[in-house]
């Protein structure tokens, strides 16, 4: 018994030493201004971020991790607790619990869609004082716990703009879209991209290839190659890491538009533009709200946080060398219209690629419309099927 106690003390001592070491490191790492703001009123706030894959995947997870890193360097009172490669099983529930219990996290950002049901919902009921912000989910009033919120960006606005550039740049009128799975978030991107292209060149088609999984480098490369062989001359993608698609497109001398992050360095000749996430704005806003004492539970922070180009949730990459001035002009115009609300992407009449009307003639689905978040069709002009 005695031995046990003393060992525990040793461990505790060791832990204290490392904790001290970490603080010292942080102190020296931060700018000078941070050291004098460490005052009693500047209580640090711990934000927990959980990623489903590695933090540096050149794609989805990295976009979130960069957003998190930016607010950490921006606010001296933000403390991060991050965990990567957490599967969507009991593992994520345990990670969240541990972040709350051991690290004192007050706000959690589990960033993968599959974390929501049942894991976040379960933990949120158990820890009503912790705020859970989930990326991509659909908060339902009265169904889900009050301390759960969801955020997502209308990155399809950026895809629409990229589609315009692609449509005007393509010589064959055939675009290619390499996607992981036929799920609403992906279908919306494919559709917006196609609608964008067809808004300037109505004969354009988009061939879609589903690889079946979020990270399948070889299949992504094969898909790109077979698209080129079919005469497609602009490709884009919605997979976890677009690097392979961009580099393969460049090797085959066709154009590409990026996704998740700016990939212009990977395809200096063929990169036209791209749809990028920009989570830092949103994360900073949430952090400041929490700092100001606002919560989801009391309604200080809205449960559904959505935004597009205007709100800075996403952005369009700078145009590449191959983009004509005509295309730039058309794209900029659409971007401006999207930002001030004059342009609605899903405005009737829109048919799907089997001929059925999916948006009626007088119907206008604004971006926040929940119907768009359960999209299950491909619009006219897309060659592909939503079945697996």
């Amino acid at each position: 018994m005695r031995l046990h106690l003393s060992r525990r003390q040793v461990i505790r001592g060791l832990l204290a030493t490392t904790a001290f070491g970490a603080t010292v490191k942080l102190g020296t790492g931060c700018a000078a201004s941070s050291s004098d703001t460490v005052a009693t009123d500047d209580q640090p706030i711990t934000l927990g971020f959980i990623y489903v894959g590695p933090k540096d995947d050149y794609g989805y997870n990295q976009a979130h991790a960069e957003g998190a890193a930016q607010i950490e360097s921006k606010f001296s009172w933000v403390k991060l607790s991050e965990e990567a490669n957490v599967p969507e099983t009991t593992a994520v529930a345990e990670s969240m619990r541990s972040m709350i219990d051991s690290d004192g996290a007050q706000v959690l950002f589990p960033t993968s869609f599959g974390y929501f049901d049942p894991h976040i919902l379960k933990l949120a009921t158990e820890y009503p004082e912790v705020q859970f912000f989930h990326c991509g989910g659909l908060y339902q009033e009265g169904v889900h716990p009050k301390n759960v919120g969801s955020y997502y960006g209308y990155i399809d606005e950026a895809q629409y703009v990229a589609g315009i550039v692609a449509g005007l740049t393509s010589k064959t009128g055939k675009l290619g879209f390499i996607a992981a799975k036929p799920i609403p978030q992906v279908l919306r991107n494919i559709n917006s991209y196609t609608l964008g292209a067809r808004s300037v060149k109505p004969s354009t088609t988009t061939q879609v290839i589903f690889t079946g999984n979020w990270a399948e480098p070889i299949k992504e490369a094969e898909a790109t190659n077979s698209m080129v062989d079919q005469g497609i001359d602009v490709v884009t993608c919605h997979v976890d890491s677009p690097k392979v698609v961009m580099e393969t497109a460049e090797k085959r001398s066709i154009f590409c538009t990026g996704y998740h992050a700016n990939q212009s360095a990977l395809a200096p000749k063929g990169y036209l533009t791209g749809a990028e996430w920009d989570w830092a704005n949103l994360y900073a806003q949430i952090a400041e709200d929490v700092k100001a004492g606002k919560t989801l539970t009391e309604g200080g922070i809205p449960h559904l946080l959505r935004g597009g180009l205007k709100d800075g949730f996403c952005k369009v990459s700078d145009y590449g060398l191959a983009v004509s001035s005509e295309a730039k002009q058309a794209a900029d115009e659409a971007k401006a219209k999207l930002m001030d609300g004059r342009l609605v992407i899903y405005k009737g009449e829109i048919k799907d690629n089997t001929g059925a009307v999916v948006v009626a003639a007088n119907e206008e689905l604004k971006q926040l419309d929940p119907k768009l978040e359960s999209m299950n069709y491909l619009v006219e002009g897309v060659l592909g099927s939503v079945g697996s």
Partner: protein, 372 residues
């Protein structure tokens, strides 16, 4: 008197060697952490604290260990027959698929307990048939069971993705294709007073039953005999084919039950999260436990603990997420190596006469010196 001495030494040997191996594994991992720039002692502290230190964190370990116990039996049981089965992942996936299908088919038409039993049986049957197929191929067509069960994994996962993405998909599952959810009343709850689901109890019971079956019944004796020498077993008139099929079925049904637990206690529906590596973890647990079902319980706890500590390695020590893989790999390599140490220490050998109180056993560091 001398008989008791022998038993005592044997027990000590089979306890100290795995423990020594784990210590050496920890030591190597400590060196690795030190090279990576983390304080190894602080890392040890975090591992202890986040995996075993408190009841709350120990539950984390238990939750992660539960599916591994069941999955490990899928390799451990056939190993007694001399078969190396690595189809755990596939059997688990098939079990989960079958359990959800039955659970959805019955819905709320029967009392929850009946539905749960039906789901459990369906999961076990599906997993069992999956591995029994590999066993049958082995017996009737002489197809290597390791390879066939490996291929069956890929086929099961493709089937899962296909069904979940299309025929079984709930259209409202939106961005994570899943089957329709099981009715909430049909879900397995948690063990009262804990947050650990009932899968842990299933795992413990399955391991104990497997132990009794193999070590204490004539069936188990027949299996072990056949495993020792198949030709001799045939000559002795043992029904080798029957034994193969039954053992493989039982093995697969354990993994299938793990799949059922995963859907009925954790996910609530079947989706790609069923395939997260419990199968491959189970294989390692089985080998590290030397295919002893009771030892598998402890090995599963060890792996559960390693996985549970993965988070704090990232959060407290800033080590990358891959660190936990290195940790797991090192511990397993050393534990597997330690299997070769049995019988190499004269200390553990039976002695004709009683000896004075034993001197402390050789430390792990000294053990490696004796390696030939």
């Amino acid at each position: 008197m001398s008989w008791r001495t022998i038993a005592w030494r044997k027990t000590l040997e089979s306890t100290l060697i795995p423990f020594g191996a784990i210590l050496v594994g920890l030591l190597l991992f400590g060196v690795f952490c030190a090279v990576a720039g983390a304080n190894p002692f602080a890392v040890y502290g975090s591992i202890w604290k986040s995996a075993f230190g408190k009841w709350s964190t120990f539950q984390n370990t238990l939750i992660r260990a539960a599916p591994l116990m069941l999955s490990a039996l899928c390799t451990a049981l056939p190993a007694r027959l001399g078969l190396v089965i690595i189809g755990n992942e596939g059997a688990l996936v098939m079990g989960g698929l079958a359990a959800v299908s039955i659970g959805l088919a019955i819905g709320t038409a029967a009392p929850p307990l009946m539905v749960q039993i039906a789901m459990g049986l369906a999961g076990m049957a599906a997993g069992g048939i999956w591995i029994a197929f590999a066993g049958a191929l082995r017996h009737y067509r002489a197809v290597n069971e390791t390879i066939s069960s490996l291929l069956l994994n890929y086929i099961a996962i493709a089937l899962l993705n296909h069904l979940v993405g299309g025929p079984m998909r709930d259209p409202s599952s939106l961005n994570k294709p899943s089957s329709y959810p099981l009715a909430a009343v049909n879900m397995l709850g948690t063990i009262p007073g804990t947050r650990v689901h009932w899968g842990l109890v299933y795992g413990l019971i399955a391991c104990i039953i497997a132990y009794v079956l193999i070590q204490r019944t004539t069936f188990g004796f027949a299996a072990r005999t056949a495993g020792g020498n198949i030709r001799a077993a045939r000559i002795a008139g043992l029904p080798v084919g029957q034994l193969t099929l039954i053992i493989c079925f039982l093995a697969g049904s354990c993994a299938g039950l793990a799949g059922m637990v995963e859907v009925a206690a954790v996910q609530g529906s079947v989706n790609e999260s069923l395939n997260v590596g419990y199968g491959y973890g189970g294989i390692l647990v089985a080998f590290a436990a030397r295919h002893n079902p009771i030892a598998a319980i402890f090995m599963a706890l060890l792996v559960g603990g390693i996985l549970a500590s993965g988070g704090s390695l990232q959060r407290t020590h800033g080590l990358p997420d891959a660190t936990v893989l290195v940790f797991q790999g090192l511990v397993f390599l050393v534990v597997l190596y330690s299997d070769s140490l049995y019988g190499r220490f004269s200390f553990f050998k039976e002695k004709p006469q009683l000896v004075a109180p034993p001197s402390p056993p050789p430390s792990p560091g000294q053990e490696s010196v004796i390696v030939s």
